[in-house]
């Protein structure tokens, strides 16, 4: 399984390195979203700093949808998905590999968006370990759910519009937990203990990783 994970993740990341869709299209989209939020909130930097946590995670969610759509679309050209099925790859390895590649792209996007909220909204980080932990756990959860629901929508003609509809409601726990943790970690944010929300992310990740490992194969066969 791990051999297949590395193989698939390496393939997807190589494709991304060649096409640079995440860096040249998804990341700029995320930054534009942050700028639009800033326009919507008005010029008061205190208001923007207060909303920075939630707006960061909303932007991450939007970027996740695009990254997952890209991950699905590379398998829909020239029968590549059938090629993967025919190769006899372990479905669990395939799921973990695709999720790992999406996660790697999300990490880069989160760094860009993190810089964006500190520059645009004037947010100051007081507890970097909380920020780091929430990003790592949130990324795993989003990559796992995104890959799972991406596979679910892959065989459908309306996958581009169906994926956000399926994925965004499922990702609400990540949005909630990530926002609360960031609020606790940013200066001037809501005083709160981020630890319970970190636990929620751990449970969310464990559930969706396990679910993906078990059901990705059947979903791929039926899609």
């Amino acid at each position: 399984m791990w051999r297949d994970t590395v193989l698939v993740a390496g393939k997807d990341l190589r494709i991304e390195a060649r096409s640079r869709v995440a860096l040249s299209q998804v990341a700029p989209f995320g930054v534009v979203a942050l700028v639009m939020f800033a326009f919507a909130l008005g010029p008061d930097r205190a208001t923007m700093a207060k909303g920075a946590a939630g707006l960061f995670w909303v932007a991450v969610l939007f970027c996740t949808v695009l990254a997952v759509q890209r991950s699905v679309s590379v398998e829909s050209v020239d029968g590549a998905r059938d090629g993967l099925r025919l190769s006899g790859l372990d479905p669990a390895g395939l799921f973990l590999g695709k999720a790992a590649a999406v996660a790697a792209q999300l990490v880069v996007l989160e760094v860009v968006l993190g810089v964006g909220v500190t520059v645009l909204y004037g947010a100051r980080i007081e507890a970097p370990w909380l920020i780091l932990a929430s990003c790592v756990l949130g990324t795993i959860g989003l990559a796992a759910t995104g890959t799972l629901y991406g596979a679910l929508s892959a065989g459908l003609r309306v996958k581009e519009t169906l994926l956000p509809f399926l994925l965004l409601p499922i990702a609400i726990p990540v949005l909630l937990a990530g926002t609360r943790i960031w609020q606790a970690a940013l200066a001037g944010g809501v005083p709160a203990d981020g630890t319970p929300w970190l636990r929620l992310l751990v449970v969310f990740d464990a559930v969706y990783l396990a679910l993906g490992v078990v059901v990705y194969g059947p979903i791929q066969e039926s899609a």
């Binding site: 020239d78 590549a80 090629g83 006899g88």
Partner: protein, 252 residues
């Protein structure tokens, strides 16, 4: 001493029915292909030739009847069957952003085959020099087909399922393909070829099966395969022959 137990058929379908929604792809196919046999599947468009190959590859499940491929149920033991089966379909299964070499390497490693055979297989199909580092998006349809063939040759599975294998290939590549089929057949590989070009493929196969309306409606014996046999073959391609694996061991 008890007589040796004969190996199971490479392909065995009994009253196999496959559906796409409510549309019947196969409507009760009975077919047996012996290990090492080369069979031509012919029939009009939409007769079920491609569906038959996809059922044998485990890509399409049957809703009724019984299917065994290499002695295994392809719906229950997908991974085991797929690693031993190669399907050359209308699609080439290539990633446009990867180079030719990267595509072949990924497909071969994903199938758990020996990557050491990649260079030889690519050379055999004329995929050499700058072509190896060319992005798949820049390839012509014929070149994409040759890359897909290179994957098949590098993997060298026990059962080759070839769907219109000559389509899009130039004369040189067609000759190479014929020779490869002959070599595979000589090495004990089972080959099933779905094709409209019975005049071309007929010389490679020992038996022809006619499919109409999702059923096997006829069968005829062809002469022993002559074209492409290594002893009688023309030089294969720009880079010459590559060492091929030994005869396939048919296990129960």
């Amino acid at each position: 001493m008890a007589p040796p137990i004969p190996p199971p058929p490479a392909i065995s379908l009994h009253d196999a029915v496959a559906l796409s929604g409510r549309f019947p792809l196969l409507a009760g196919v009975d077919l047996e292909v012996a290990p090492g046999e080369t069979v031509l599947v012919e029939g009009p468009n939409g007769a079920g030739k491609t569906s038959l190959l996809r059922v044998c590859a485990g890509l399409v499940g049957v809703s009724a009847g019984r299917v065994r491929v290499l002695g295994l149920d392809p719906n229950r033991r997908r991974t085991q069957v797929r690693r031993r089966v190669g399907l050359l379909s209308h699609a080439s299964h290539l990633y446009d952003d990867l180079t030719v070499r990267e595509n072949v390497r990924f497909a071969v490693r994903a199938a758990g085959a020996d990557p050491g055979r990649i260079d030889g297989a690519c050379a055999r199909l004329g995929l050499t020099g700058r072509l190896l580092t060319t992005s798949a998006s820049k390839l012509s349809a014929g070149q994409r087909r040759r890359v897909a063939l290179a994957v098949l040759v590098a993997r060298w599975p026990e059962l080759w399922l070839l769907d219109e294998p000559h389509a899009g290939l130039d004369a040189t590549a067609r000759a190479t393909l014929d020779q490869l089929i002959g070599e595979a057949s000589a090495a004990g590989v089972t080959v099933v070829i779905a094709s409209h070009e019975a005049d071309v493929v007929g010389s490679l196969a020992t038996r022809a099966v006619v499919i109409t309306g999702g059923r096997v409606t006829g069968e005829r014996t062809l002469g022993p395969p002559v074209a492409g046999r290594p002893a009688a073959a023309e030089p294969a391609g720009p880079a010459g022959d590559i060492p091929l694996p030994g005869p396939v061991a048919h296990v129960a």
